[in-house]
């Protein structure tokens, strides 16, 4: 079972490496969105420092959503999703594998790029660790929850926008906790509790989301 999951992750990573365009676009989107805000709200340093955690987190959220559309759509189109449904491992395990591959390609780079954007907003370097950690814990949760939405909207007209509508309300707790933890740290308070709750959300979503994803995949391919 683990070897099958590993094969799936390796396959997805190989596919992305050979065609990096889509993944790169989503990351570029992350950077662009974060860069747009100062143009909209003015570049006053205190203001930017205050909004940095929230803006970077919202940008991460939107970028995650953009890349989620790819998660199952390509497999559905070329018939490999069918084979996944008929694989010799439980669909929940394979769904988790797909989400892992997706996160490695779209979530982990966001964590790596965040300090760069923090620099743009002149966020204090002491806060970069908290920011990165919050994103490290939060982006997988976004991937898991978003994958449920991606599976539900598979093959529908206007799937992209519909996915956003379905998934953004569910993203709210992650956003609040993620950005909030950095804001707490910025105010000199301990952010430990928020990060722990975020960690708990990660564990819970990793445990339960794959089964919701599997159910949604079966429903969408019937």
């Amino acid at each position: 079972m683990i070897s099958i999951a590993r094969t799936l992750v390796a396959r997805d990573l190989r596919v992305v490496l050979r065609r990096p365009g889509d993944a790169a676009t989503a990351l570029l989107f992350f950077v662009i969105v974060a860069s747009l805000f100062p143009l909209g709200i003015g570049a006053e340093p205190n203001l930017l420092r205050a909004v940095a955690p929230g803006v970077i987190w919202v940008a991460a959220l939107l970028s995650s959503m953009l890349s989620l559309q790819r998660l199952f759509a390509a497999d559905h189109a070329d018939g490999t999703l069918e084979q996944m449904l008929l694989a010799a491992a439980p669909l929940g395990v394979l769904s988790a594998a797909k989400v892992l591959a997706h996160w490695l390609v779209s979530g982990l780079p966001v964590v790596a790029l965040a300090p760069l954007l923090a620099l743009q907003y002149d966020l204090a370097p002491e806060l970069w660790g908290t920011l990165a950690l919050s994103l490290l814990l939060g982006t997988p949760v976004l991937s898991f929850i978003g994958a449920i939405g991606a599976a539900l909207t598979l093959g529908l007209r206007g799937a992209g926008v519909l996915l956003a509508l379905l998934v953004l309300p569910l993203y709210v707790p992650v956003l609040i906790l993620g950005a909030g933890s950095v804001e707490m740290a910025a105010a000199g308070l301990a952010a430990g509790a928020q990060l722990q709750v975020l960690g708990a959300l990660l564990v819970v979503s990793a445990a339960f989301a794959p089964w919701a994803i599997a159910a949604a995949l079966r429903i969408s391919t019937e």
Binding site: I145, L152, L156, R157, G158, V172, I176, A212, I219
Partner: protein
């Protein structure tokens, strides 16, 4: 299906048969109509009583004057919006687990009414906020949670609307409703925390004036009125859905 309580309970077995009999959309159709008719009347009567209590009987609030009276609509609407979401998720789960068509139809029928109550809660909240705190929207914890709840309802309705196959629409909606229901407490608490983080306890619609018993009675009566209305509206809608599909 709590509405079947009026059926004669001859013995356990015949009640069980009766439950499944009413689970068929065809047989439920006339029953739904009768219950709806009763509930319309009930809703009108209760609403009249509730509004009377709210607007004439309950005393004027020392701090907020007459404006606070809008809580007689705002709070029951908020309660109903959250309650209906759970009921909707419940029916959706039943439909998914037992593959019963009627349960899924009930879930689909509840969504618009739930969304309506959410919108009503938001709108009355804004109307209350303006004279009390100077702004229509103050990002109060409860209003913000209601807003997200509205998005959850709209998402459910949008998903079902964009799927042509009724079976897939029912089941996909069910998964979404269940995932949403599980998330509602998480959303609620995180928004509460967010509110304390950013605004402190200065502005809060949840800090309603201390409840005189008449106020509580008024809100309770209005809640019952809304509940009766919800039952009536949902059952009417279910009848439409049954007619459409069968």
């Amino acid at each position: 299906m709590g509405h079947c309580g009026g059926i004669a309970d001859i013995d356990g077995m015949s009640t069980a048969i009766r439950w499944f009999w009413f689970a068929s959309p065809q047989t439920f159709f006339p029953l739904a109509g009768r219950i709806a008719a009763v509930c319309w009347g009930l809703a009108a009567a209760l609403a009249a009583v509730g509004l009377y209590i709210g607007f004439f009987v309950a005393p004027t609030d020392a701090q907020q004057g007459e404006v606070y009276r809008i809580i007689f609509i705002h709070v029951p609407a908020a309660w109903m919006s959250m309650f209906l979401y759970l009921v909707m998720a419940f029916w959706a789960a039943i439909g998914l687990a037992f593959n019963t068509r009627l349960s899924a139809m009930m879930a689909s029928a509840i969504a618009p009414t739930g969304a309506l109550f959410t919108f009503l809660a938001l709108w009355t909240g804004a109307l209350w906020g303006r004279p009390t705190w100077g702004a229509y929207w103050v990002w109060d914890a409860r209003l913000t949670s209601e807003l997200i709840l509205l998005f959850l309802y709209l998402g459910f309705m949008a998903l079902q609307a964009s799927i042509d196959d009724p079976r897939r629409a029912d089941r996909a909606g069910a998964v979404l409703a269940i995932v949403g229901a599980v998330n509602v407490p998480i959303i609620y608490y995180s928004v509460q925390w967010w509110n304390t983080l950013h605004q402190g306890a200065s502005v809060s619609l949840t800090r309603a004036p201390s409840m005189a018993s008449t106020m509580l009675t008024g809100m309770l009566v209005m809640s019952l009125a809304f509940w009766a209305y919800a039952i009536a509206a949902v059952l009417m809608r279910v009848r439409c859905i049954i007619r459409e599909r069968e």
